[in-house]
């Protein structure tokens, strides 16, 4: 399916849960509320006309200054149909808050490591995660969340303006 018909299908069949549908760099992109995050992932995976069986990209962006929270971006891909869609959600957070969202590692098991990485680097809490250990950072890392904007650690050197 091409992106415009995917977008049409998404905004018709899931119109109660998705909003703000548009095509960004040829990929159908929709936004959902954090409360619907797990349920929309379940529905999309089980949709027989989409067959979105694998995660192609899953990450977070610190948009606290611009949008007032952390945005989670998930791109899922169908090997059978060779199409992909992007789902976004914005987790509201204040200055040092840890935003909370449900885990989708029960939907796509490969999301588990992505979520572990986001949890340690951004401080996002994934509720119900089966293995919430650190993935890349040291187990006894205690310097906060390095991918947050304005973060600084004890050995951290900011590049001077040239």
């Amino acid at each position: 399916m091409d992106s415009s018909s995917l977008l049409k299908l998404l905004s018709e069949e899931y119109q109660e849960r998705v909003f703000d549908g548009k095509i960004i760099t040829d990929v159908a992109t929709v936004s959902v509320n954090p409360g619907n995050w797990v349920s929309i992932c379940h529905s999309l995976r089980d949709d027989k006309s989409l067959l979105l069986h694998s995660i192609s990209n899953f990450g977070a962006i610190d948009f606290r200054e611009k949008l007032g929270g952390y945005q989670i971006v998930l791109t899922v891909f169908s090997h059978q149909f060779n199409h992909k869609i992007t789902i976004k959600t914005l987790l509201p957070a204040k200055e040092d808050d840890s935003p909370i969202v449900g885990t989708i590692s029960g939907v796509w098991p490969s999301a588990e490591w992505f979520e572990r990485e986001m949890a340690e680097l951004f401080g996002i809490i994934f509720e119900g995660h089966p293995d919430p250990r650190h993935l890349l950072l040291d187990d006894d890392w205690d310097e906060g969340y390095p991918m947050r904007r304005g973060w600084s650690g004890k050995d951290f050197v900011v590049k001077p303006e040239i």
Partner: protein
């Protein structure tokens, strides 16, 4: 070969017997410098250059008596070849502590010297391997050419040959 070429100076023949005497210090230093077994231990891209390319036939560590050992227990020299992250730094310290004295360290490349390209805006990289273990020789470069690595090994041999017998335990710190 220092000692061999100066045999008449260091050794004297005892009349009537087959015994040769020499300075124990020269002999120890000569044997340590000529059999510098290094640990097969690479961290990043420098391992390709410093351990594999330099160890292969074109440059050939073997002609300096350097043979790789896959265990820190049998190694005399640790070539820290590559980017040392905070997570790996603890493991490197353990490996260094497992090596038996006398032990020597070569910090190879910009990352091992002071963080190199990861110096600014990086949360994960240790800025200099000398913050956790004592370093004998630093090689600049990203990555250094095999010639530089050979030069560093020759420099280390010179350093070893200047050691006194009593001070090898303190020379590494």
């Amino acid at each position: 070969m220092g000692v061999v070429s100066k045999l008449p100076v260091y050794m004297e023949r005892i009349p009537g017997g087959g015994i040769l005497t020499t300075s124990a210090e020269k002999f120890f230093n000569w044997s340590r410098a000529s059999s510098l077994w290094y640990m097969l231990f690479g961290l990043a891209c420098c391992a390709i250059e410093g351990l594999m390319a330099t160890g292969a036939s074109r440059y050939d560590y073997d002609r300096l008596g350097m043979i790789f050992r896959a265990s820190p227990r049998q190694a005399d020299l640790m070539i820290v070849a590559g980017t040392l992250t905070h997570k790996m730094a603890k493991r490197v310290k353990i490996l260094y502590d497992q090596m038996s004295e006398p032990k020597y360290v070569i910090a190879m490349g910009g990352c091992a010297n002071n963080g190199g390209p990861f110096y600014y805006d990086c949360y994960s990289v240790l800025k200099g391997v000398d913050k956790i273990i004592p370093v004998d020789i630093y090689i600049p470069g990203c990555p250094p050419r095999p010639e530089s690595v050979m030069e560093a090994c020759l420099k280390l041999q010179e350093k070893i040959k200047k050691q006194k017998l009593g001070d090898w335990s303190s020379s590494t710190s």
